[in-house]
């Protein structure tokens, strides 16, 4: 196909539909550049598409909050975070929460909620009774116990599978691990009682 403007081969094809009327343009690279239509590689298009999309998905959340220009805690801006890859202070997490959440989600396999250890004093304060830190400790001990029980279950299942598959070396190793976890299981509740 020839270029609409000159005799060169047309390599850029643009189809636009305006008010229901289809307009086709077939241009060579030079004429396309003259018209302000840039030839783009598939890679460029994809990159463009991805960034546009992530901006599009980030926008509604962004609009819900007024975008803070700088963190009141340290004066750091989101732009500076983008450059540095590091936040300015702990308060930045709150200040830029809406912008950070999608990034955090991507970095942590879709998760945006902490599950795991909580500083004891913070846990106690959250419960509104600092002096009851011991109770939290017991709760943590119980959580630890649950964690061990959970681990024991996983190990037992793996052991059953190993025995079924006649993988005796693996089975022996798993049995040793089960014994190890088992001992701590027996020891822990007694420790907890001694404390309280």
């Amino acid at each position: 196909m020839k270029c609409d403007r000159c005799d060169n081969d047309a390599t850029v094809h643009e189809v636009t539909v305006r008010n229901g009327v289809k307009v086709e343009k077939h241009l060579c690279e030079a004429c396309a550049a003259g018209e302000g239509i840039a030839g783009a590689t598939l890679g460029e298009l994809l990159t463009k598409f991805m960034t546009q999309e992530s901006e599009a998905t980030a926008k509604p959340k962004q609009a819900a909050r007024v975008r803070p220009s700088a963190c009141p805690g340290c004066g750091f801006t989101f732009e500076q975070f983008r450059q540095a890859g590091l936040l300015g202070c702990p308060a930045c997490y709150k200040s830029f929460e809406a912008l950070l959440t999608p990034l955090i989600e991507r970095a942590h396999e879709g998760s945006t909620q902490h599950t795991g250890k909580v500083p004891k004093r913070i846990a106690a304060r959250a419960a509104g009774r600092e002096e009851d830190a011991i109770a939290t400790e017991d709760a943590l001990a119980r959580a630890q116990l649950r964690e061990r029980q959970e681990r024991l279950k996983v190990l037992q299942r793996q052991l059953d599978e190993a025995v079924r598959g006649e993988q005796y070396e693996l089975a022996a190793r798993l049995r040793d691990q089960i014994r190890k976890v088992d001992v701590t299981l027996v020891a822990k509740p007694r420790d907890a009682r001694e404390r309280s």
Partner: protein, 374 residues
């Protein structure tokens, strides 16, 4: 001979010659697993993160942390090193012993314009439990506190329990930056949540020889695990040593990460390496023996040798030892040499500063002496 500055707070010179506990060829699955490590990233509430803080603020954080760490009974003996006052060779020694990161040794460059420039004299330090060197706490690295527990063999559970206990003691006196939603708040959002990195250093020479190491790497990446070299981020797997660690820190409790790595993923990799070793012994025994003895021969006779080449040859010797191909060297001795051939350790053993060429010569001499060469 250059004498070390007399400073009672500094490491014992003999420590440079001793094998660190994590390289002692002890613990579970030590034929494949060199060491296990748990690292917790923590920050103090109410202070800017290290890279954004002013020098004065960094000094305040350093002093606050140091005072509390040294007054709390974290271990029988704790050694404190002010890194901004330490010579480069001391800092490099600590990096080689895996007690501080490279970036902590250097002093971090400022990531953004307008923030204070960090350099070698930036206020920062490290607390180390001695003589075992299992615990180290970096202050003012990327985060205010980085608590690390490292042990020989597959022992992530022991590392986690010990690191968590130290964490509790520190938290009893210092307010951590924590949010119920995001967990422990860290300078980099990739560490937020538990702030915990669990890693295991594996010696995988047979998988390297068979080429199956790439499968391990791919499988690890698919499970969102990072595979790194001997010196962590950005380092090559010299000496067939690989570190596998969790990458995500949010949404999965510490115990679950522990169970996955310690009870299922790492034992599988260990088993894979053992099978590869058995196959090499069964099907290619002479070729394997040839490689092992050539490595031993080169180490016993070389007159000049670089650290990477030495580590690679030591890897084959260690493989030979573990498989019973050679018995005149122990795995522990091979492990120790992995450490001693590093530039700062070598200079410490020799007792003076050396340029690169002299390092190559002295390294070859040291190895010959240690491996009974001529």
């Amino acid at each position: 001979m250059v004498q070390r500055p007399d400073n009672s707070g500094q490491p014992d010179p003999a420590a440079g010659f001793a094998v660190t506990e994590w390289l002692s060829d002890a613990g579970d699955s030590s034929d494949v697993v060199i060491s296990s490590r748990v690292r917790l990233a923590r920050n103090l509430a109410g202070h800017a993160f290290v890279h954004k803080a002013t020098r004065d603020e960094r000094e305040v954080v350093l002093q606050t942390c140091r005072d509390w760490i040294l007054s709390t009974k974290l271990s029988d003996r704790i050694m404190w090193v002010d890194l901004h006052d330490s010579p480069l060779i001391e800092r490099t020694l600590l990096v080689e012993r895996h007690l501080i990161s490279k970036q902590h040794a250097k002093g971090k460059p400022a990531p953004t314009a307008g923030t204070p420039t960090a350099a070698a004299d930036e206020p920062r330090g490290v607390a180390i439990s001695i003589p075992d060197e299992r615990l180290s706490i970096m202050v003012n690295e990327e985060d205010h506190l980085r608590v690390q527990m490292i042990r020989a063999g597959l022992s992530l559970d022991a590392c986690w329990e010990a690191a968590s206990a130290v964490d509790d003691k520190i938290e009893a006196g210092l307010d951590y930056a924590f949010s119920p939603k995001f967990g422990y708040l860290t300078a980099c959002p990739t560490n937020v949540g538990t702030g915990m990195r669990m890693s295991v250093m594996l010696h995988l020479p047979a998988l390297k020889i068979t080429g199956d190491i790439d499968k391990v790497k791919r499988a690890a990446t698919d499970m969102n695990l990072a595979v790194r070299g001997f010196f962590g981020e950005g380092s090559d797997a010299v000496g067939d040593l690989y570190q596998i660690s969790n990458q995500t820190t949010l949404g999965k409790p510490e115990g679950a990460v522990l169970t996955d790595l310690q009870d299922s993923i790492i034992p599988e990799v260990v088993q894979y390496e053992r099978v590869a070793r058995r196959n090499l012994m069964g099907k290619r025994r002479v070729a394997l023996e040839d490689q092992v003895y050539r490595a031993l021969g080169a180490l016993r006779h070389a007159r000049m040798i670089g650290a990477d080449e030495a580590m690679q040859l030591l890897s084959l010797v260690r493989l030979g030892v573990v498989l019973g191909v050679i018995d005149e060297v122990t795995a522990k001795a091979a492990n120790l040499l992995w450490l001693l051939v590093q530039p700062a350790h070598l200079q410490r053993v020799v007792g003076r500063e050396l340029d690169q060429e002299h390092r190559r010569i002295e390294r070859a001499t040291l190895i010959r002496q240690r491996l009974g060469g001529k």
